[in-house]
Amino acid sequence: MPKIILDGKEIEFKPGQTIIEAARDAGIDIPHFCWHPKLSVSGNCRMCLVEVEQMPKLVISCATLASEGMVVHTSSPKAVEARNAVMEFLLINHPLDCPICDEAGECKLQEYAYAHGRGESRFEEMKVRKEKRIQLGPYIKFDAERCILCSRCIRFTDEIAKSHQLTFIKRGDKVTITTFPGESFDNPYTLNTTDICPVGALTNQDFRFKARVWEMSKTNSICIGCARGCNIEIWVRNNQILRLTPRYNEDVNSYWMCDNGRLNTFKFVNSDSRIDGPFVRRNGLLEKVSWEEALSEASNKLKKYKGNEIAFIGSAYATNEDNFMFIKLAKLLDVKKVMFARHIKEGDQDDILIREDKTPNSLGAELIGLMPINENLLNELFEEISTGKIKVLYIIEDDIFGKYENLKELAKKLELIIVHATNKNITTEFADILFPASTYAEKHGTFVNFQGRVQRIRPAVATVELDRALDGMSMSRWDKFGTPFDRWMQGKKYDAKPSWKILTSISTKLGLKIKYEMAEDVFEDIANTIDEFKGLDYDLISNNGIKIKNKAYEYIK
């Protein structure tokens, strides 16, 4: 491979790469605002100026192709001077309202001002004032003063979201960003611009002023909005999820995630409708009981029925570990009907990220051995319930009664309904025994996305059974030094457990000899029993996931 010499270090590059790309691959970050690895080169911010020997002037490294033997200096006096000058110009009209800006703490302008700024301004005139708090789209606030006109947002809407909704208007120091007259900035991916905006000009309305970024802990996880399974980070303060951001994974979601995933997949975790502790129906009313009581009740009652009198409905929202344990219990009870429901939103799919399948783990559920519910299976189930053949329903982590409304009528025929649920829903209203299930943000586990990629989720929010420090969860500074007497440590912890744990307890009570301490133990068992998962473990799956062996899974409807 050809080489260039960057700051005295020889680095290789692929033909066609620019200097900035070659440097990045070698792990060297050349300061830049407008360049983004996934967007076209614009070359307007001039921050990435470098000195190249034998070239008369400094060049912008984002738009200069690397060529064999090129000698590049990023920190020669000339380059440094140029960079400092660029910074000075950028800051001339910048409002410097970091104290009220949500970007502060993760702002490129702040970082570079610290590294390359003069520390004081020589500009004595009035700064140009522009409009603040502009509602650009349904989820985005735009602060025109903060914008450094890098055009990243414009290029994103043109090249990635393909909605061509943003543009520059006006001239000189009056330039600003806007949508076309009468249009709202409202494609399904708008909030990605808040991530790539190098300053706080575009901010997430939903997260606005909720917290400073350094106050939160962040945990690597997976979005549960659809079968894509975008890699995300969960940001938590005081045991409450405040925002989700995409995490780079070229094979799944690159740098992006959709607005629906970002806004609508975490609020249920900290909502009032959470089920807090186990419940058992007594005299027609659900009554809160101890774990021991609920578990014994469930195992004692299940014992009384034959396998063909019971139907199990697993979930494409639950992890592989949960569904696997569900099947174990089914085998123990000799239950043949072990199913799960798909949640397809016909037509809601595009070539970017969004998938029609609105569950994160339908492929996983299938691989683990659950039967997807189809028309026949469903009619058979209804039939068998109404004739009294099936007397027991065991449902985990899915609102089955909400989806198949006929069941509400049939419920009278059933003698026992056991439900695991995270939040109250129509199904929980019919439950005789109700177990509180941990949400995806409160447990370890794995999902398989539509491509057949196994990906890990991790606990970001603590439940009663979890301790941030002891269970190795990520911690903010507050979490590290807080005591139970600090109000900022008293965030609500729900009394919930992962479904696999509840199922393990029930199975043990029914005589199965298993010893699962952690989700990882369950996964080990999965890897040992199910072909597709052979040879995998949590370390291998790690942060970026891993594709299941030998099979190019494509989504099957």
Binding site: C98, P99, I100, A104, K132, R133, R208, F209, K210, R212, W214, E215, R477, W478, F481, G482, F485, D486, R487, W488
Partner: protein, 164 residues
């Protein structure tokens, strides 16, 4: 036991003590006519100078609005993690204000870092040193106790402008 040697061998006059006692009495007598420093607290209260660092308070501006923009810098810099701030949106030009601002006075060590870091001159060290509470909850001061009209804080703010 080995008898310790005296550090200083006393001479005759010192050994009979009488002279020393008289010396001591003279000192006492002198002090009786010096100006008094003792204050009969709580009847008489100490009025500290502008440089004094009493409990941190929030400045309530002339227009009756707190200056704080809930940037959280004081909370971040506080070495004792005494401050908790929750921001919210306001119609005023400053865009954000503290919906909740709490200082745990059991944690505060009166270092004044919060005052030093504040970009808005919104939190200053007051002259209030009378902090009494009978349980942990009462020691957490909310906005009701923290907000102090700017008139009462003038000399501290002047002091800060001169020396900060």
């Amino acid at each position: 036991m080995v008898a310790k040697k005296r550090k200083k061998n006393l001479n005759f006059f010192e050994r009979i003590y009488i002279v020393e006692i008289i010396k001591g009495m003279i000192l006492t007598l002198k002090n009786m006519f010096r100006p008094k420093f003792t204050m009969e607290y709580p009847e008489v209260k100490f009025e500290p100078p502008a440089s004094y660092r009493g409990r941190p308070v929030l400045v309530l501006d002339e227009n009756g609005v707190e200056r704080c923009v809930a940037c959280g810098l004081c909370s971040r810099v506080c070495p004792a993690l005494a401050i908790e701030v929750q921001a919210a949106e306001t119609e005023y030009e400053k865009e954000r204000y503290p919906e909740k601002f709490e200082i745990n006075m059991l944690r505060c060590i009166f270092c004044g870092f919060c005052e030093e870091v504040c970009p808005e001159e919104a939190i200053v060290m007051s002259k209030d040193y009378e902090l009494v509470y009978t349980n942990r909850e009462d020691a957490i001061y909310g906005k009701d106790k923290l907000l102090v009209p700017i008139e009462q804080l003038r000399d501290r703010i002047e002091f800060l402008r001169k020396f900060k």
